[in-house]
């Protein structure tokens, strides 16, 4: 077998644009998933009982079914209930809702891991409940959950590849299309795999850097 990468590399501008789409979709979904997960974790901690039941159902359903099925349900089923989305917004929405379920579990466990003594001390010092949440609970939870959140972020980056199935023009779709055009599918996929490997390693290294910077806030 002979590899010829020059043909594929002649399409570098397209590949760079696709890399941009992958990173953009990843970052937007990551922000959406983290925000949703945070809201769900707060809702489960402070919300009424009926809300907790609803949120548990959301988390269990979205963690118990494949992302691909969720994506198909939204993208192909959405138009039947008046939710016609283009591939990219549908992909971002699906990835956010899917990731949100995982983030909510991480944040919920993080809230539970905040030492009771810290909260009691704040109560004794006359902090209101909002102040306790803002000044004690959330910052300590953020430090405690950072490693798990970084893992989730990296795994979300890999999940963006699934969006190629509903024609989001990200890396996987673009590079495999180029591979088909040049009849060099295997070469293209090798390049793609190496590219993702590099991306994931970079993301993980950034995560380790952030962890190192925040290590001085660690208390337990």
């Amino acid at each position: 077998m002979r590899f010829d990468y020059t043909l594929i590399l002649s399409r570098a501008p397209d590949i760079l644009a696709a890399l941009g789409v992958t990173v953009y979709v990843w970052l937007v979904s990551l922000a959406g998933a983290a925000a949703l997960g945070f809201a769900v974790a707060l809702g489960r901690r402070y919300g009424p009982r009926w809300l907790n039941g609803l949120l548990v159902a959301y988390v269990e359903l979205f963690r118990g079914t494949p992302f691909l099925v969720q994506l198909f349900l939204l993208y192909f089923g959405g138009p039947y209930v008046g939710l016609s989305l283009d591939a990219e917004p549908a992909g971002v929405l699906a990835l956010s809702v899917y990731g949100g379920a995982y983030f909510s579990e991480v944040f919920r466990l993080g809230f539970e891991a905040v030492p009771r003594g810290h909260i009691e001390a704040a109560q004794c010092a006359g902090f209101s409940r909002t102040q306790i949440v803002r000044r004690i609970l959330v910052p300590e939870m953020a430090v405690l959950t950072l490693p798990a959140a970084i893992n989730l972020a990296v795994s979300l980056l890999k999940d963006t590849a699934v969006l190629s199935v509903v024609t989001v023009p990200e890396l996987t779709l673009t590079v495999s299309t180029i591979g088909t055009e040049f009849y060099a599918f295997v070469e293209a996929l090798f390049l793609l795999a190496l590219g993702y490997w590099g991306l994931v390693e970079i993301a993980a290294a950034l995560g380790r850097f952030a962890e190192g910077r925040l290590a001085r806030f660690r208390f337990a």
Binding site: M1, E60, L61, G64, T65, P66, F67, L68, V69, Q70, F72, L73, F76, G77, Y80, V81, K158, D159, T160, A161, V162, S164, V165, T172, S176, F185, V186, L189, F190, L192, A193, Y196, W197, V200, E201
Partner: protein
């Protein structure tokens, strides 16, 4: 959703279970080998194992599946797509399972091995009587968790033309135009299977809990 359609989905779900089970069994076996290599002090074994784990955990499963599916014919292996699919799932999960198993073996208390040394157990006896059973019990929760992840990830093999649960729902949808019912039913089946596996995992954990008799 007619009962007949649902039955088709259930049959496809059984196929999903079979593919995942095959991938999990092969993946754990491969993972055991990789974990052993990774724990070896010999850099010639150690480094390839590290690269293996890093690669298969660093590349999206979909890309791995596409690569294997298209690579096998190029190197002269004309196998049915389901073989490529199981191989892809197994390779990917073996990297994760290797890390789980490595952690399990590393957490076997040193004192137990020292006692075994004192009693004159050979290294092989130590492995089969002490290290492996304890590591297995310590690793079980992580292995079950990974099995559930693989069950869900097996939906991706629909992309390389294996007609498992997701692909069945997709194929039915192309002729029936009932995406909401079909994908909801498929999702429900995945959910139930996962619940079953999780329940079995908890049961096995209780039965095998370290020190329980």
């Amino acid at each position: 959703m007619t009962p007949y359609l649902f039955l088709l989905l259930v049959k496809a779900a059984l196929y999903t279970v079979a593919i995942s089970a095959a991938a999990i069994v092969i993946g754990v076996s491969l993972g055991l080998g990789v974990a052993a290599a990774r724990a070896s002090p010999n850099p010639l074994l150690n480094w390839p194992a590290r690269a293996y784990v890093s690669f298969f955990r660093g590349v999206p499963l979909l890309v791995q599946l596409l690569l294997i599916y298209n690579l096998l014919p190029v190197v002269g292996l004309n196998v049915p797509s389901v073989v490529a699919a199981v191989a892809g799932l197994a390779l990917c999960t073996s990297a994760y399972q290797a890390e789980n198993l490595r952690g399990g073996f590393a957490s076997v208390p040193k004192g137990l091995l020292e006692s075994a040394d004192m009693l004159g157990l050979t290294p092989w006896q130590q492995l089969t009587r002490i290290r492996a059973p304890i590591a297995f019990r310590l690793t079980l929760p992580a292995v079950v968790n990974e099995a559930i992840l693989i069950l869900k990830a097996s939906s991706l093999v629909s992309v390389v033309g294996v007609v498992e649960l997701t692909r069945m729902a997709q194929d039915l949808d192309t002729s029936l135009f009932k995406p909401i019912q079909l994908y909801s039913a498929a999702g429900l089946l995945y959910f139930l299977i996962n619940r079953g596996v999780a329940g079995f995992g908890r049961f096995a954990e209780q039965r095998l809990a370290w020190g329980a008799r």
